[in-house]
Amino acid sequence: MKKVTEAASVYVPTAEDFVPVSSERKTDTSAESVGGSRHDTVKKFFAQKSAVVGVVILALLVIMSIIGPYLSGYDYADQELDRSNLAPKVPVFSEMGFLNGSELLPKTTGDTSHNRYEELGISDVYYIFGTDSLGRDMFSRCFMGLRISLIIAVVSTLINLFIGMNYGIISGYFGGMADVIMQRIADVIGSIPTLVVVTLLMLVMEPGMGSIILALMLSGWIEMSQIARAQVLNVKEMEYIQAARTLGAGHSHIIFGEILPNIIGKMITQIMISIPAAVFLEAFLSFVGLGMPPGSCSLGTLLSDGFKSVLIHPYQLIPSAILMILIIVGSHLVANGLKKAAE
């Protein structure tokens, strides 16, 4: 206020000075100021070796989840009961003496080596990851499971992001009574353990992808909203927001044009943390018996099926376990890289 009066003594403002600048020019300036720092962040991100490794791992996983189920020539759901429990057999390695379809079977008299391919007379057949107890190809199943798990994780995380970000921005931006009430509601919902929400919801609903996504959504958005709100509170009093407000920008322009571009980095980091957590929870549900219905497959069902036979056929567990670990490692490396790049 004081500044305005000081300025007025020197310069007499005309009516045109109080006309809001056209939206075209405003978006222009904001894009310029934000664009520069964003370019820097991207550069810093890719300068880190571990972050690049993480991106490569995640990219490979996504590609394999798309094409993987069709590579082996066997469908993920086709059962061939006389070809059950075949150990992994890989074309080149089998000549060299390992991964050739033999497995050590624990017997009371000691471990004995078996090669079911030879016993069945199908020496020319190759199952890279072996088959499960119903004779289904583990290779197709693993990547199909990866696809389902990734879809569940990504969709639920994006919905969480949408709900949580809107909730957090509204709560943080408008403040006052709205903030207090919204935060109390979030407090109450946030104090219910995820385990309890997910378990109860899965009991009530039909098992399937939709209900798993809904269950993950109900508890996941709170964290997103907290981060969004904290970021908004940080950014809200910055000069450029005040400048936009002084120029007469409306709430929607300030929120979507000024605040959003500046908090999106933190939100992306949070996405990379949430995705493995969702994969993790899905696997947990399968273990407790509330996961995907029998017949379909996800990493969770593969892991819990693999666990049942791990003592006799450990190869049925290993590939899905490795995929699970790769998802977590990949997202972890990317999240760390993003955090460091933003600093």
Partner: protein, 311 residues
Amino acid sequence: MGKYLLKKILISIMTIFVILLIMFLLLQFMPGSPFNDDKLSPEQIEMMRQKYGLDQPVIIRFFRYVANMFKGDLGVSYSISANTPITTLIARRFPVTMEIGLVSLCIGTFAGVVLGLLSAFFRSRVMNVIYSVLTLIGIAVPSYLLAMFLSYCLGFRANLLPMLYDVRDPFTTSIMPVAALSFMVMAIIGQFTKAEAMDVMNSDYVLLARCQGLKNSTIMVKYILRNSLIPVITMVGNLLVGLLTGSLVIEQMFSIPGIGTLLTQAISSNDYNVVLGLCFLYSGMYITVRLVLDILYCFADPRVRLGGTKS
């Protein structure tokens, strides 16, 4: 301070009621019935429903449930072990879960703090490798996979440790479950402690203390240790949730007779009352721990006390 605590306590109590109401309503929409035995005729099922008061409207049952709860009565089990009070069922199994959970939490937190501090103080190449490998394994390998790996290698192949839990020998039989659970705790606490310790070590007040010629050990204990460990308190609440989820699967894996296995059984046999009681127990535990941690943090960090709110 008093106002802050009062607010926290009020919110906690309110939350417990909201949870109870939501759970109760949700369970009404649950498909299936606890009495799905083909041998029961419709009349007999109706009699059972009357006996347990399931024919009353939802709202009456809710208030009756809450009223009974104040008397320490969570109802009886319908199908797992018929007519046994749920408090008895829980009382029998709760100590086992608690023991394993708390031991894992303590071991994991201690190991994590030690790991984090060591890697912050001694920044040698070897230490860095040890730190990175341990934290990466702890974060990337879910506790149930670690448990499977341990039980296959140590239990099945090497035959060193028993693979199933035995009430008569709780020490040796719980080594593997505790190891699997505490690894994750160690990794998360380790990372957090290292970041905090580095922050404190690079801060101006530690530099000032150094300039004043304070002994290294004094700086270590009075400045670095104290200031980097306080924030760790906040982590424990979040870790507890992870432990609860993890222990549910681990208990099943090692057939530990704790509340995790009880919950899984109750889910598969539609035993509403048991599910309700256990979910309530889980939520109650979680909320209480969060409240206690908030209060502890309030005492440990004067900024929270003076600021009134923490956000």
